[in-house]
């Protein structure tokens, strides 16, 4: 037993590190999600009292699981659950007599829980909510705040999902080889969505959002440890780290977003960037590329450029072309056009925008005219640029983007005059599913 002084810290750490494991183990044995969460909560409450007076146990996770298991047996006894089931729960292996950690079973339960929470038969928003509740231990109120819905709505969403898991018998297991690739994609996309929600949301509580990105990174780390042979899982973790490394430089004193090319690069988190790059290198060495690895490679090009001028734009343009083949999307095409403009000049990118325009995929969206305006401005065609800026201004949804566009429009030289040196194009190396995020 260690000194009791940091019992509170120990409980907070145990909560972060062990919650998912305790809940996952109890779900496997009892099959009851609510019971598992309640007993895990009870165990943490008890830890707060006991660890203060008795010291922090050597293995907090096993302590919590044992206490939660005993609590589950009590509750099930009171609920008159059959003897056979009770014996099974009471006999549940938490800590073998030798004291050796049962490492081979416990991480498997966490992995099972991840795949069950992200089962594609559940609605996407339910998968995200369940992951945050069961794996990360966020309260219903916290999850509701993060997704800007009422606590009641979120509680209903969670209850409905758990009922479906129970009554439709969604299995608590890691799927076999035939189903694994598709199911892993679902797990990765939930983690990515979680990260994006924290990273790119334009509204909501700052602390709650930081918590979301931190949880997404932590859970993806757990996943890569449990599935070390999946390069896309490593690619996703690399992508998250490379984006997250820029966080200290992304907002100004007033909270306004600072575009990538104007960020103070000395504020970027170097160890995070190095970790992301080395993860990505190891993943790429497996020669099984996927969209997360390619996006991480793009993020790495930005993260490793000492100044904006050092950015390897030809490489980024090639990576976007590859991403476009892997996951065709108009936003990816738009980013490819911007990268081409940076690599080969604005004139080379205009035909790409025309092609995108003719598909109508981004109709009603400000990004296409805004990008066109930037290209025309750089080509010293101010009259056409002004028209495009006005089109973009009519469509732009957020105030910071509106201010940016209005500023650019006002700074345009009058037609036929000599244009001053212009600032560089704006690039948005945002996660592909989001539309604005420096």
């Amino acid at each position: 037993m260690s000194a009791p002084v940091d019992a509170r810290t120990a409980v907070a750490e145990a909560f972060r590190d062990e919650w998912g494991q305790v809940v996952a183990t109890l779900i496997r044995v009892t099959g009851d999600w609510d019971l598992a969460e309640e007993c895990a909560q009870d165990a943490l409450t008890l830890a707060l009292q006991r660890w203060e007076s008795e010291g922090v146990p050597r293995r907090p996770g096993a302590w919590l699981t044992t206490v939660a298991r005993n609590r589950a047996v009590d509750r099930m006894r009171r609920a008159a659950v059959g003897e056979a089931k009770l014996r099974e729960v009471a006999a549940m292996a938490v800590e073998p007599p030798s004291g050796e950690p049962p490492d081979d079973t416990i991480p498997d339960d966490v992995l099972r829980l991840m795949f069950t929470c992200c089962h594609p038969a559940l609605a996407p928003e339910a998968r995200v909510a369940l992951t945050l509740r069961a794996l990360a231990g966020l309260t219903t109120a916290e999850i509701a705040r993060a997704f800007l819905v009422s606590e009641q709505t979120m509680a209903k969403r969670l209850t409905r999902a758990k009922q479906k898991i129970r009554h439709a018998v969604i299995p608590f297991r890691v799927p076999g080889p035939a189903l694994l690739p598709g199911r892993l994609r679902s797990v990765l996309s939930v983690l990515y969505l979680l990260f994006n929600e924290g990273y790119s949301a334009s509204s909501g509580d700052e602390l709650v959002r930081r918590n979301l990105t931190a949880e997404a990174v932590r859970l993806t780390r757990v996943l890569t440890r449990l599935m070390p042979d999946e390069p896309e899982a490593a690619g996703l973790l690399a992508l998250m780290l490379l984006h997250d490394a820029r966080t200290p430089a992304r907002t100004g004193p007033s909270g306004a977003l600072i575009p990538l090319e104007e960020q103070d690069r000395s504020l970027w988190d170097r160890p995070r960037i190095e970790e992301g790059v080395s993860l990505l290198d190891r993943a790429m060495a497996r020669r099984s590329p996927g969209p997360y690895q390619v996006q991480a490679a793009i993020a790495a090009c930005h993260a490793t450029a000492p100044t904006p001028a050092d950015t390897d734009w030809p490489q980024i343009a090639a990576l976007y072309a590859r991403l476009s083949r892997l996951t065709p999307s108009p936003v990816v095409e738009l980013n490819r056009a911007v990268a081409v403009a940076m690599a080969r000049g604005p004139a080379a990118a205009l035909p790409l925008l025309d092609a995108l325009d003719s598909t109508g995929a981004l109709a009603g969206h400000h990004l296409l005219p805004a990008t066109r305006a930037d290209l025309l401005r750089r080509l010293s065609r101010p009259a056409e640029a002004a028209t495009a800026y006005r089109q973009a201004l009519a469509l732009v949804p957020t105030a910071p983007e509106r201010r940016y566009l209005a500023h650019r429009l006002a700074a345009l030289p009058p037609p036929l005059s000599v244009s001053p040196p212009t600032p560089p194009l704006r690039h948005r190396p945002a996660p592909a599913s989001k539309h604005q995020s420096p």
Binding site: H119, A121, H167, A168, V169, I170, P171, P175, L179
Partner: protein, 107 residues
């Protein structure tokens, strides 16, 4: 665990009515999965019945006029939803219509 597969399709699904299930029924019966089921004649031949105030009320047609209508059903016995999804995905109607998997109420 018992599930009902509700086989749904729009009007164009009717042209598949006499195609049978391409060996699906035989395979699933052999595996002990398929417990029963059948195909339905078109919704235009349906009659809806309600009793209100001791009076039997009849309506021509199905519950609701929807684009997709139920054209058949099966009762299957599976270990879990993943097995039920696999069984449903192998049904030929999954290739042109939609199959809804509903767990049966179990007391």
């Amino acid at each position: 665990m018992k599930y009902m597969l509700l086989i749904c399709g729009d009007e164009s699904a009717a042209e598949h009515a006499d195609e049978g299930c391409g060996g699906w029924s035989e395979e699933m019966s052999e595996r002990g999965v398929l417990q029963g089921g059948g195909g339905l004649r078109p919704p235009s031949e349906a009659t809806a019945v309600r009793v209100r105030d001791d009076e039997v009320l009849l309506t021509d047609g199905p519950f609701a006029e929807a684009k997709e209508q139920i054209g058949g059903y099966c009762i299957i016995e599976c270990a879990d939803l993943d097995e039920a999804i696999d069984v449903a995905a192998r049904h030929p109607a999954a290739g042109y219509g939609t199959i809804e998997i509903r767990p049966l109420w179990e007391p």
